[in-house]
């Protein structure tokens, strides 16, 4: 049986008597989120434990409203934590920061800026001492990586939804985050554009190997992109229900994955979980 369902524990390294969990990039420990309502507290997440390794691509799948987005925005620091902790490289997070790049569901570009200026906005924050030319080169590099060579000086409002999300991807990678958080970034796109953008994303990611956490509703997308697929139980008090390791070799091609024997096992596993 190729399917492994146990949680992958961090490799613990002991060096000079100090214990490191060095391969863990992102550590969610007993995470809890409570929203107060007039009828008492509503517990969205409870006892949520998840370790994500360096250079790992994790997709999170679960029913609508189970708290996936809440979890992701807590990792991003946009939503306060009610209990437990989130740490990046063993440092607990305090609010949002450029070490965690976010690609939102809607591209959220500043429509009055050009594509280049949109990407520059973050790069200027992260590399304040670099020369303007250097910063521009970084931005142009990522924009050309996402296939926007000719559109540096187009206003963001003139671009199609798919193009805008490409800029969103470039913006997130250009600030060189430690962790990349993706909140259903392709959810609003048609399936053709979605496939194109998955390829763009995975191609950049293969080069940069940034730890990535991505929420998706699409089972095929989850399998195609991920090293591990994390399944969340339905709320309230959602937690990690199951974790599925995807053992396809990288770089992957859609065609070879679909033809692979394990693909349908993985798919069945995920769908069984979701329909449970």
């Amino acid at each position: 049986m190729a399917l492994k369902t146990q949680h992958k524990r961090p490799d613990i390294i002991i060096e000079n008597g100090i214990q490191y969990t060095s391969k863990v990039m992102l550590d969610l420990n007993d995470l809890k989120k409570v929203y107060p309502t007039p009828n008492g507290d509503y517990v969205v997440l409870e006892n949520l434990n998840l370790q994500i390794m360096k250079e790992e691509f994790v997709t999170i799948i679960g029913h609508s409203g189970c708290g996936k987005t809440t979890m992701l925005s807590m990792i991003a620091g946009l939503n306060p934590i009610s209990g437990g902790s989130i740490s990046v490289l063993s440092n607990p997070i305090k609010g949002p920061g450029p070490d965690r790049g976010v690609i939102f569901q809607s591209p959220s570009l500043m429509p009055w800026l050009t594509t280049l200026e949109n990407v520059m906005l973050g790069v200027r924050q992260v590399f304040p001492h670099a020369k303007k030319k250097e910063r521009e080169d970084i931005c142009k590099y990522y924009l050309s990586k996402v296939g926007l060579d000719g559109s540096f000086h187009k206003k963001a409002s003139e671009l199609s939804q798919g193009m805008q999300q490409r800029v969103g991807i470039a913006r997130a990678f250009a600030i060189k985050p430690k962790v990349l958080l993706l909140d259903e970034p392709f959810g609003m796109l048609d399936s053709l554009t979605r496939g194109e953008l998955q390829d763009v994303l995975i191609e950049i990611w293969n080069k940069e190997k940034i730890t990535a956490v991505m929420i998706t509703h699409d089972v095929d997308e989850a399998i195609f992109l991920a090293d591990r697929v994390v399944m969340m139980t339905s709320g309230p008090s959602a937690k990690i229900g199951d974790i599925l390791d995807i053992d396809f070799q990288r770089p992957r091609s859609r065609k070879s994955i679909i033809e692979h024997d394990d693909y349908y096992k993985y798919r069945k596993h995920l769908i069984d979980f979701l329909e449970h």
Binding site: M110, P111, L121
Partner: protein, 363 residues
């Protein structure tokens, strides 16, 4: 080339000229002819209809007034007096003209006479300037105040004064309303604590603002000899008209797209960068809508305020003509009315064009 021309014409709000340009190039004759009919001929016809109605109304009022005068003369002086009055009215003598709504041709005549008057006065001014040039130089050298022209201002001078006042008031409104609006919009606490003030002062009438400003400015400028009427009227105009901008700025700033704000948070933009790079540009369309309302309100209240504050300008021109009661006063008032309307319309068009220019959603 003409495509560019069409773009420009559309941009400055003269889109109705588009079919004429297209027709002159021989494009789609039939479609463009109907467009011309719709966009140019029909409005012209409505203007013609308006003038005809006006002419008819003015004649009817003139006749009523004339009959009333003759009847009054008959009651007071008998048949002889009535005949005399009728003859006097028919002769067009100034002394016995019925005082009522002037006809379009009278208004047109008054318009030309006002322009003529302006020419005379500006020639007079020029002559005065030349005459006093050397004397003023000497006085300046001696540290004395130069002699200035103190004659009556012409109609065009009044228009220019009014436009200056409205711009001073408008700038004041921008400088007060936009920064305060941004600050209030950014903070929920401030918004709820200052809201009562905005809600109470917003509906206050221009007249009351004028009196309030008068109370304050009078005390503050007690020692100065300069004319305070300009200061009073422009401050009142600013205070009356700034509310639309204030409310719209608060609204624009407090409703910036949440996703965009999240981006700013994730990128850790500083407060200044956040305001200038994210919040202001994204609320610019709403701020500009406010500014347009502010400018049109400013122009509207300006006339009333000038009328009350005795400060020079179109408002006092209208009031003086009304008090004057000369034969052509009524038609001069109507001329002023049209000038006020047309300038107000042009101001709005200018604002609209600027708004299109700076706004990010150009459609």
């Amino acid at each position: 080339m003409s495509d560019k021309l069409i773009k420009i014409v559309r941009f400055i709000g003269l889109g109705f000229l588009e079919p004429v340009i297209r027709l002159s190039r021989g494009e789609e004759t039939k479609k463009n002819l109907t467009e011309i009919l719709k966009k140019i001929v029909a409005p012209l016809a409505s203007i013609l209809l308006f003038i005809l109605l006006w002419q008819g109304g003015a004649t009817a009022l003139y006749n009523t007034e004339a009959e009333y005068r003759i009847e009054k003369a008959f009651n007071e002086q008998g048949q002889e007096g009535a005949d005399k009055m009728a003859a006097c009215i028919a002769s067009g003598d100034v002394s016995c003209q019925p005082n009522t709504l002037p006809s379009p041709s009278q208004v047109k005549a008054s318009f030309y006479s006002l322009l003529e008057d302006h020419k005379i006065i500006s020639a007079d001014k020029k002559a005065f300037k030349e005459k006093t040039a050397t004397l003023n130089k000497q006085r300046k050298a001696a540290g004395e105040k130069p002699i200035t022209y103190t004659g009556r201002p012409s109609f065009v001078d009044q228009i220019i004064t009014s436009i200056k006042t409205v711009f001073a008031g408008f700038l004041l409104a921008i400088f007060i309303a936009v920064p305060i609006g941004v600050v209030i919009g950014l903070s929920d606490t401030l918004r709820s604590s200052i809201n009562w003030l905005i809600q109470i002062f917003k509906p206050v009438s221009p007249v009351v603002w004028l009196l309030l400003v008068f109370m304050i400015v009078k005390t503050l400028t007690k020692d100065s000899e300069s004319d305070t009427s300009f200061i009073i009227s422009f401050i009142s105009v600013g205070l009356c008209s700034m509310w639309a901008t204030l409310v719209n700025t608060v609204m624009g700033v407090s409703t910036v797209d949440k996703d965009i704000l999240n981006v700013a948070k994730v990128l850790k933009l500083g407060p200044i960068q956040k305001v200038f790079k994210v919040i202001l540009p994204s609320s610019l369309p709403l701020i500009f809508t406010g500014l347009r309302i502010t400018l049109s309100v400013a122009w509207m209240v300006l006339i009333a305020i000038e009328l009350l504050a005795q400060s020079p300008g179109l408002g006092s021109f209208v009031w003086e003509e009304f008090q004057n009661g000369a034969n052509d006063s009524n038609s001069k008032i109507i001329v002023a009315m049209f000038v006020i309307g047309i300038i107000g319309f042009l101001l709005d068009r200018i604002m609209l064009t600027i708004q299109k220019f700076v706004s990010f959603n150009k459609d």
